[in-house]
Symmetry: C2
Subunit: 433 residues, 2 copies
């Protein structure tokens, strides 16, 4: 039998894996099984297609499917859903057009992504959407373009829920966001999340701590209650799983099954700050782990050095960014953590457009940085990367205070908000000695 | 005699020193000698006052002079120019209102700043300005406000020259920039500077490599040919100096003279990448070294961990940022350096407003990062800080490629331009093995 790599999933991770494998081995047979009708689009772009900021769905694709067939010589099978795996015989079973097929492989990359959780909602049935696939987004946008949707209910106030609230608001809907928890964005500490809540309420209705009471009426419902990893075919075949049932992999994306690699939102990559695997399904790691899995599965070598949990989300006019652990997460992990809050400015105080920038640093009593949260109208998105870099390098808040960061009045005050926060954190260390 | 700290210079460094000393010692007598009529303003704001972006000169002051007298209990002597120093007797001589005064001290902080170089210009005399003090800026702005200035000549195409060109252009002047060297911004490599030159030429006339030919006629001339450190009173008294005659200090800002500290633009702080002192007169280090000098001179303890040479400048619609060493500087320092260039995008390709972002990384053949240069319409200013942090921590381009940087379509592509550049740099390392 000729060597054959099968990739399950044609999203960012799967197509990165397939492309990387092709670069390593020009002769390898590469089959991609994609359950939907599109490949290589970023899930992160869907809210912007819905809002109309991005006009055509095709703009979200890295390349059209035909490009991968022509330029990467992939055997791309769309509407092909992998349903079972026999790791001993090295056969994957998939369903396409209602028929079952068995496909043998020499190497398998599972990049099946994540699936939205679908809670049961009380009340009468209404047009209900999850926004995980391009098909989901196209269906909802068609409805919105028809002009009959006046009100929308978003269930869940995580980052996808808030992005959807903004998108639907931009389309002229009266939007209500309901959330079971008493706060938005569990990736932030509650005190920081409160700033985001105040801002969200300037634009849409936000109901927190919603229990079993009837949900408000709406022309359309969008579910954004979280994502679960969908590495089920590997897990069912005995692959070791970790947090939230995500597949566990080593730094070369090998699962516990021989000949099976995994990448993207269905794995729990190494979290460098936690020192443990964590389920943090985000785009950059999906792309990078896909590339590593494809490279190694095709006979090359590459490693993935883990994540620190960096993310940013646009919430109406706010940039909301975080990395590492929140104070709550650090406590849950048994770390004696300290939180330091500072409100700096995005630019020199005399420069037009300067706006407040809230910085929270989370650090150990001894000084090691554990995480950061930034919220402001500008300057949060890329500033968080300084703290992500500091986390990667294991720096302390004292190191952070000593950084030589860029300054010019249009872009930062002479003491950058990050430096102010690090100085305040450092004073706590000195005081504790 | 009661203990007395004398601070020479009321700029960012001097006022930081005086304020820090007051925090350490509430009883200390603190005298500040300032040659001009204003204290605690950032030189970096002057172009924005000239352009009118900042309306009133007072907005540039951190606080009015009276605030420091009242809240910091400083003996603030304006129009008082220090002219000589006797370190053995611990006496500083200064001139105020034409009269000479001798003032004894127990500790002295020299924070005299820098002075613009004034080249002799060929041709007829014209109203000529340097822009180093608030008085300079007020004088030129008065002339501009009078409405009679139609054309301006800027001599020097370093960052101050380009900021001045933008400011004068914003005031409606026809601006010509002349530069002796064949390129702008020696803080960039020539290939990167060329992108800035193309952009500058969209707005004003730029003449590079200008020799002894007659300069174009203009209603006003602005000199921006560089700054020299003005620590002369300490140097004349025997203090050790380094690059460009700047004062040498240890990590507590002690000069070689007993009882004399120095800070700000008149010193050459430790450059962490060069592993040597360097004259890099910039605002953040001025503030930080001032604070350290004042703290230590007043009996406290603090250290300054050096600079990596990070800076950013707005040049019309471009953000131009750099840190560490250029390829040219690395070569001059005897390092076998490699430059890697990548053009990424500031946002996801499908998100409106995405613009090209040019990244140059400079690194050793073995991978250690030595510097970075970023040029683009957005996203350069704070992205440079990731590389500044990496330099501080001694990271390699392989480390840089592994960073977990933030991603959301409005703020970055899924592969941040910095990651793309680091990946490209890493491929050169692998290729070299």
């Amino acid at each position: 039998m000729p060597r054959r790599l099968v990739v399950v999933g044609g999203g960012a991770a799967g197509m990165s894996a397939a492309s990387a494998a092709r670069r390593i081995d020009p002769e390898l047979g590469i089959v991609v099984l994609e359950a939907g009708g599109y490949v290589s689009y970023g899930v992160c772009g869907l809210p912007y297609y819905l809002s109309g900021v991005v006009e055509h769905a095709e703009e979200l694709l890295a390349h059209p499917a035909s490009w991968f067939v022509e330029h990467r010589r992939l055997d791309l099978r769309l509407h092909a859903r992998a349903v079972a795996l026999d790791p001993d015989r090295r056969v994957v079973r998939y369903v396409q057009d209602g028929a079952q097929h068995d496909l043998s492989y020499t190497a398998l990359v599972v990049a099946a992504g994540g699936a939205p959780t679908v809670p049961e909602l009380p009340g009468p049935p209404r047009p209900t959407f999850t926004i995980r696939t391009l098909e989901d987004a196209i269906a909802l946008r068609s409805l919105l373009d028809a002009g009959t949707v006046r009100s929308a209910l978003v269930v869940g106030a995580g980052y996808i829920g808030l992005e959807m609230a903004e998108a639907l608001h931009a389309r002229g809907c009266a939007v209500t966001v309901v959330e079971r928890l008493p706060r938005v964005l569990t990736t932030l500490d509650a005190e920081v999340a409160a700033r985001v809540e105040d801002h969200v309420r300037e634009h849409v209705e936000l109901r927190l701590g919603v229990g079993s009471e009837p949900l408000p009426a709406a022309d359309v419902v969008v579910l954004a209650t979280g994502v679960v990893p969908t590495g089920g075919i590997a897990a069912d075949a005995g692959a070791t799983t970790g947090p939230r049932g995500a597949l566990l992999v080593d730094d070369r994306m090998r699962t516990s099954l021989p000949g099976v690699w995994a990448a993207g939102d269905c794995i729990a990559p190494w979290h460098r700050v936690l020192g443990a695997p964590a389920f943090v399904p985000l785009g950059p790691a999906a792309n990078k782990t896909g590339r590593v899995a494809g490279t190694v599965a095709a006979g090359g070598d590459a490693t993935f050095d883990g994540v620190v949990g960096t993310a940013v989300v646009k919430v109406f006019d706010l940039e909301v960014a975080h990395t590492g652990l929140t104070h709550e997460q650090a406590g849950a992990a048994g770390l004696a953590a300290v939180a330091t809050d500072v409100v700096g400015r995005s630019r020199a105080k005399y420069y037009p457009g300067a706006t407040p920038l809230h910085v929270r640093l989370v650090h150990e009593a001894g000084g090691r940085l554990l995480g950061a949260q930034l919220v402001g109208r500008e300057g949060a998105a890329k500033r968080i990367d300084v703290t992500a870099t500091a986390l990667h390098a294991g720096l302390t808040v004292t190191d952070l205070a000593a950084l030589d960061l860029s300054y010019a009045p249009p872009y930062a005050p002479v003491y950058d908000p990050l430096i102010l926060a690090a100085q305040a954190a450092r004073r706590k260390l000195v005081a504790a000695v």
